[in-house]
Amino acid sequence: MPGVETPLEKWTGKVHEVTLGGNGRKSITVGGESTLPFLSFEAPIPHPPVVAIEVLDMEPQDWSPHLVSVWGDALKDPAVWAKKAVECGADLIVLRLRSAHPEAGDTGVDHAKKAVEAVLAAVDLPLIVLGPEVEEKDNEVLVGVSDVARGQKIALGNCSEKNHRTIAAVCLSDGHVAIGKSPIEINLAKQLNILLSDVGLAPESILMDPTTGALGYGLEYSYSVMERLRIAALMGDKMTAMPMLCTVGEESWRQKESRATEGLPPLWGDHQERAILWEEITAVSLLNSGADIVVLRHPRVVERIKATIASLVG
């Protein structure tokens, strides 16, 4: 009988480890993998990917009724919402400062600080804070947030190629982790990591968001870009080896398959089931292509994805 030798790759690199929280708060470490996602036959998986739940600093205006009904009144208060997210099994919280957007309230740095302080006080999970993704406002509110969260080692985003110096600088001085977000493209992701490193951030202080394409809306681009980033990292490229964060919930629930509730063909199937599967399948696909943090919205998806990760890690 021919013995089949287990086909192992000789990878030389590994994903950088990034730790959030600590100092009294729960801490979470992601990264550290020295093989492709979940290939436990090849190398141990030091830190399984984690699940974050997205919390907004204002009541969301355009969310699907399926999300609104499951979260209920928690949506009105980020601290309550975050607590409920803990009950749902979140490993960490992503707080999106939506209200700072000029067209969504244009709140300022004080509002942002209060929201962050409230969430930090309400839960003991590590925190990621994302700005409204308008440069001036991002720089304004995130600098304030960085200050109030000093010592808590949160992650701040998003840094872009054009607008990264301010956020990177406060992460550097306050000991936080910076998130770099680049359009779905391997070179752009790497370029931003280089720029952040050149500003002085250590690899263990950088997360990357290579931009999530939802199922049916560019998922294959994200899938391959992330797979390539991970392979490059394993082949020794330190500038592609930052752990990856994917905003799965936001992207999935934005699409008409999830958002629209009427006027859809009956063959699309039950609306709620489909919407949930849309988020689940996006999540599992991106976990298999290298995501270290998936940011989700629906509690049932959180439960399923946590079980999936547990099963994959074995």
């Binding site: 009988m1 021919p2 089949v4 287990t6 086909p7 790759e9 492709l36 979940f38 290939l39 436990s40 036959f41 957007h101 000029p102 067209e103 969504a104 993704e133 308008v134 440069e135 406002k137 872009s160 054009k162 607008n163 359009p183 779905i184 752009l188 199922l215 049916g216 560019g218 998922l219 294959e220 681009y221 899938y223 391959s224 797979e227 390539r228 392979i231 398959e257 009956p266 063959l267 699309w268 199937g269 039950d270 609306h271 089931e273 489909r274 949930i276 599967l277 849309w278 689940e280 399948i281 599992v284 696909s285 298999n288 049932r300 399923r304 079980a307 999936t308 099963s311 994959l312 890690v313």
Partner: protein
Amino acid sequence: MALSGIEIYKFLPKTNCKKCGFPTCLAFAMKVAQKTVDIITCPDLSDESRQALESAGRPPIKLVSIGADGKKLEIGNEVVMFRHEKTFYHPPGIMRRIKDSSPAETVAQQVAEVTEFKVDRVGIELSLNGFAIENDSGDGAAFAKCVEAVMAKTDLPLVLMSSKPEAMAAALEKSAASRPLIYAATGDNWEPMAELASKHGCPLAVAEPKGLSELAALVEEVNKKGVEDIVLDPGARDLGSSLNTLTQLRRLAIKKNFQPLGYPIITFPGTNAASVDEEAVLASQQVAKYAGIIVLDNFSPALAYPLLTLRLNIYTDPQKPIQVQPGVYPIGAPKESSPLCVTTNFSLTYFSVAGELEGSGHAAWLLVCDTEGLSVLTAWAAGKFDAEKIAKNFKEFDVASKINHQRVIIPGRVAVLKGEIEEELAGWDVMVGPPDAMDIGGYLKNNWSN
């Protein structure tokens, strides 16, 4: 191992005779390397060269087809580990499991649900590929009857599932002409199963959960019986074992060129699943990670639609320029009075324009024209982004209904189009934006007022 264009070129006559239809031998060699043309198209190839090239070009995973002509499902013949390296060629067949122990009405309904399920997505019809009929009753006659009943309703490819050679023989009597996949040869029954496969010329699944060495040994035995069209079932039934085992099989075939395991793989994501969600998650993993046939225990449109969409995504050719769906995109929360900008549907162009708009805090409408994924200047140079095409996109996406003004901002690099667009779109004021996306914020600040 695939040969590069230069390596293939070395075997060619180097006469640039053009008889193959390509301008030079090297151009031909590069097309052969891309597998878009067959090496035998060269009329002056020596026999040795042909043999050398054909053996080098043998697919590491065998192409297996299931089903009758005209309704064939082709699986296998993949050449890479990762889709970005080339592309994944043959999408896995997704099938629904039917049990011969179910009442006839249930079977009929289950078949009908699948055959009636057709969803259009971006012009492509999504549907399932066939049925796996399981001999749950253990009875040969019941099995054959059920197979017949299904065949009366559909001509989609079938997998016949039974561990009993007699039951399989009975079912094959009724169905061999439509070339079902026989599932499965095991350590206990492989001899009669292989005989059945040989006799009827049907593909045969080989199931061996003990390990890959044992699986390879069994494949070799079956092979010796003359069965060439083989599908593997390594028995991995949950997320972790499926990912690890199927990855190993793919690596052995592609990277080690290990022929005993160079066949497509069949999976059963529902076997150990406690819920539909769990089955869906495993099935979706298997779409990307190396299944050739996926047999679903549960079927519903709400599951099938996302799963088939995923298959469509993963099996899209990644070498095509990355495109954004043409259309009118709201950036921020635009109002009727917000500015309207025009750009092309090359993804990075879109991202940089949309990103700059978003980053500047201006809400706007962005008309993304279909330029087949080319950037602004390239598309203009190739005649894919001219006044006529832009005007066509205006009408197609009913731009006028979204806004209450008639002003449109075009990229500064195609400033020359201003006059022509104003001719095409009577009454519109065409504003020339900045040549560089990074100046958009400043431009809107200085030039846009409601």
